[in-house]
Symmetry: C2
Subunit: 247 residues, 2 copies
């Protein structure tokens, strides 16, 4: 299996620490505005400040934490507008990636491999835990976008995905109400479009997915009541759908 072999793990101490911190934020242990004191974290993880410092610098460009010169880092306090912005970027970049994938086509083995990642989303045990569900969903979408052979854009999408997930958690949006079956169905629609090498459909499916996701969050977010995603400037029709023409 190409997944089992060769993808050497990216596990430096700093990365491990960064993952832990991200996890803490997703789980609600760390809340917006909380200070990240290098000394404290170093003590807690029983390592020195160096790797902790590196982990913080690793998290900063993700927008998860804010750091100010000589004053340390605090957990970001995002607004719903930040979520919208991240998803807008995610939508556009995803269109580019998916149009490229669908245009070029994917060999069967690789395609099946990505498809199989959806199984985790169907696992009741995974579905029971919002954080696991989030991770499985992101893992699938990352693998999907990697098919584009556009590594930098895939990286940006991966970052934006983590960003989005973190922001949603930080805003206290209740993700539990999500209809898992509908989510999977949307992903399957995108996959079908790719299998049919139909860029237009792939892009449309993706746009719908993003818009539905954002709309769902808007419903789950108490402080936004009058947001109609379809009319929001960043997501308004007609979108960049025309990119896939001339295939």
């Amino acid at each position: 299996m190409s997944t089992a072999l060769a993808p050497l793990p990216e596990s430096s101490t700093a990365h491990l620490v960064a993952d832990r911190i991200r996890e803490a934020i997703w789980q609600g242990t760390l809340r917006p505005g909380d200070r990240l004191v290098e000394t404290d974290l170093a003590e807690r993880f029983e390592i020195s400040r160096g790797p902790v410092r590196e982990a913080i610098r690793l998290l900063a460009p993700e927008g998860l934490i804010v750091l100010r010169r000589n004053r340390g880092a605090v957990v970001a306090n995002p607004t719903f507008d930040d979520v919208l912005e991240v998803y807008a970027a995610r939508m556009t970049l995803g269109e580019l990636a998916l149009a490229t994938i669908a245009r070029r086509g994917v060999d069967r083995a690789t395609f099946d491999e990505v498809t199989s990642l959806l199984d985790r989303l169907r696992d009741p045990i995974v579905q029971a835990d919002p954080v696991s569900m989030l991770e499985a969903d992101l893992a699938f979408q990352d693998a999907l976008m990697r098919l584009s052979d556009l590594p930098r854009i895939a990286d940006m999408l991966e970052n934006s995905g983590r960003d989005a997930a973190s922001f949603v958690r930080l805003l206290g949006i209740t993700y539990e109400s999500t209809d898992h079956d509908a989510l999977i169905a949307r992903h399957e629609r995108t996959l079908a479009a790719i299998a049919a090498t139909n860029p237009a459909e792939a892009v449309t499916a993706w746009q719908d997915h993003i818009r539905l996701t954002v709309a769902e969050f808007a419903r789950g977010y108490r402080e936004v009541d009058d947001l109609s995603v379809d009319q929001h400037p960043l997501f308004a029709y007609p979108l960049s759908a025309s990119r896939q023409e001339k295939s």
Copy 2:
């Protein structure tokens, strides 16, 4: 003036070092494949390894250098495809930003401030030095995109801009042949569209700018002879131009 007051400089030692390294790459002092040894750099800058290490980690996500676990960092060895990918991302994200700007409109003072940044591009002394020209051009485009009030997307654009500039230099593309007047004219066209709050025109102007830029690079890059940018999948018409409708 809002530019003179309050924008406290982001000058940590690590950032200064990162700038120096970037500059060295732009000037050709550091070439693709060259190793970045922490000890050497620390000696040269007469500081300890800590800040140097941090600078390298700062440069890595820009794609400027590649770092492998326990094996240090080397200057990236990009291909022309990398340039295309970066510009494709830059084009899409720029469309989003510019459509937003043109849709909302910009107050006169801020607009003039950004416009005035074009003056540096007209300075013969700046035009004489490719690196200065590059920096002035990036400074203008960054300021322009910041008008969108989409800080994350502006950040991505800033990074992609530096990326693009670095890659172009690393590929040894001769930037000297650039028609400075034409470049300025393209920027002025975008500005005019914004002033007229015409999103469609702003997006189109931007697309044309990117495509012309890429085409220019393709001409300056010996090893690519049969590239016609207009037909390249990542830049093919029709593009996401439709985004700005329903203004």
